[in-house]
Amino acid sequence: MSAARRLLLALGLLSVALVAVAVVSLFVGSAGLSAPAVLRALTGRAGAESIESVVTLQLRLPRVVAAVLAGGALAVAGVAFQGLTRNPLAEPAVLGVSSGAAFGVILAQIFGLGLSVLQALGVAVFAFAGALLAAAAVYLIAAVPGGLSIQTLLLSGVIVGIFFTSAITVLISIVDFNRLGGVVHWLLGNLAPIPPASLALFALLALAGFWLVLGSARELNLLALGEEAAVQLGVDAARLKRRVFVAAALLTGTVVAFTGPIGFVGLVVPHMLRGVLGQDNRLLVPTALVGGGIFLLVADTLARNVVAPAELSVGVITSFCGAPFFVYLLRTRYRASL
């Protein structure tokens, strides 16, 4: 089967799965609406002020969209960081880039940036800057002549992550807005219904990052052969790395700005897709967008329902899946390279 046909088939199957999961997610929740009631709301046959309309259209639907966007963006960021560093375990949270972005968001909140779309853009800019800063730091610490070794990169990621987490703690203790643990919960990663205008901005920024990574997919395949080989094959390696680097930071920063830091999506999803589709980034980038959406939507649907009417943070669920997965990868596939 040609690459194009495999891509279409994979995207088709994933899209069907995404729609199915989204439908399930719209129909379940702690409000305990009946299926006909949700259907009435979705088809516009329920009054605008009815509980089924408000719960389905104002609460569940925007949250489903946010989950799909955030999951897709994180998975693509994972593919991008893995291609860029030629390290299969690279991922926004593992590399400390999410912590950098979270630091940016909290700083923006201290400066008074809040809810309106324009201010949300401001928060995203801060998050992007934080992500860039953290990613650059990791890269500079880990870079040695001849490339990046897996363990040095992971260690730098851990160090940078710890640094930014401490910086966040400092901000929190200075400002004392932590009296009731709201920020602590935010730091675990939470999806909330986002108003339509901000959701559109979220989508725009995430798609911009996706587009940059997608456009670099072919060259990332060549980079996998080694930087020298890539240059000999006509790839401007420095430019490629800059572009993917910025795109991955943009994706991470955007997600953190709108949902808080959610870990391990960028690790779990690309790896599962690689198991089926192989190493070709031209297949991985678009399928990661859809697959990441499915993964996070499933996780958030669980987060909303397993302890209802209380809720879990979705980041807790992704970590529970992702951390053992990370250990599994470390102990099996990448044992030799450590």
Binding site: G29, V55, L59, L180, G182, N190, A192, A310
Partner: protein, 297 residues
């Protein structure tokens, strides 16, 4: 309080002050035994509510230290601070040469309390999640500071105002109330929170009061489905910071909620409601006016 009770407390206080070099053995609110060589004269409070109580009893001459969060009454500024509730500076604390530290199991770290024990500084733990426990706490702080005789006056005044609220709201129905401690993610008071009890006294029913946790992270759609008739947003934003700001505009689109339709969405800095001290009646009265404006016309 009966005259006999008053006499007992006065007698106890007299005993406390009179015992010259007599060591005293006390039991704190967590049932721990605290032994003091003499009645404490240099107290450090790591609990904002306790600091308020000390001042309300006129016992501030015995207070030599407080935390950054002890901000009421304004006169507390004259006392040196030992840092935050979670991360007080032990060095600063020790330098104040306290003969008693009052701390809590909710808000202070166990680590801090262990360190104080190791340093041989007597530590008295307090804990209050109910109005009755707040009253008990005031009595205990009175005894600790040698101002036991002042406690009944303060407690009596608080009881009188609490009872007045009860009476004022008694004739009316009990609306369903959603109290929002933190907006995103949604955190609300559960069964073990004093807020749930205060909402009850103020003549409402907290729709999240059945949850087992003290401060559960709650589902927004479950809150909407329970159709609250009054929504109260606690505002925690400090300075220009937007974290914890109550943002009533974010709730306006929930048009199926009776509270939104009726315009009964309140937002206020209710930090006094989160303290178990002498200002509980102040917070309670504000709460009651939001839940039952008709009772206070």
């Amino acid at each position: 309080m009966s005259l006999r009770g008053l006499a007992l407390i006065v007698a106890a206080a007299a005993l406390l002050l009179a015992s010259p070099a007599g060591a005293l053995t006390l039991r704190d609110m967590l049932g721990r035994t605290v032994t003091l060589p003499a009645p404490p004269a240099r107290i450090v409070s790591l609990v904002p509510s306790v600091t308020e109580i000390v001042f309300s009893l006129g016992a501030e001459e015995r207070l030599v230290g407080r935390t950054d969060f002890c901000d009421y009454p304004p006169a507390v500024r004259t006392k040196p601070s030992v840092g935050g509730m979670v991360n007080p500076s032990l060095e600063t604390l020790v330098a104040l040469r306290p003969d008693l530290v009052i701390a809590t199991d909710e808000g202070n770290r166990e680590e801090t309390i262990r360190q104080l024990e190791r340093l041989g500084i007597p530590t008295y733990l307090v804990h209050a999640n109910r109005v009755a426990e707040t009253i008990e706490l005031i009595t205990r702080v009175g005894e600790l500071t040698g101002h036991a005789a002042d406690a009944p006056r303060l407690i009596g005044e608080m009881q009188r105002r609490i009872d007045a609220v009860r009476r004022a709201v008694a004739p009316f129905g009990r609306p369903r109330v959603l109290y929002v401690l933190w907006p995103d993610p949604l955190i609300v008071p559960g069964r073990a929170s004093m807020l749930t009890e205060l909402i009850e006294i103020a003549g409402g029913v907290s729709i999240t009061g059945g949850d087992g946790d003290a401060y559960p992270r709650f589902s927004l759609e479950a809150a909407v489905a329970r159709a609250p008739e009054v929504i109260i947003l606690a505002d925690h934003s400090t300075g220009s910071s937007t974290a914890g700001r109550s943002s009533p505009e974010k709730w306006q689109h929930l048009v199926s909620v009776p509270a939104i339709r009726a315009g009964r969405l309140h937002s206020a800095d209710l930090s006094i409601l989160h303290r178990y001290g002498p200002r509980v009646p102040d917070g309670l009265e504000t709460l009651a006016r939001m839940i039952h404006p008709e009772a206070f016309r």
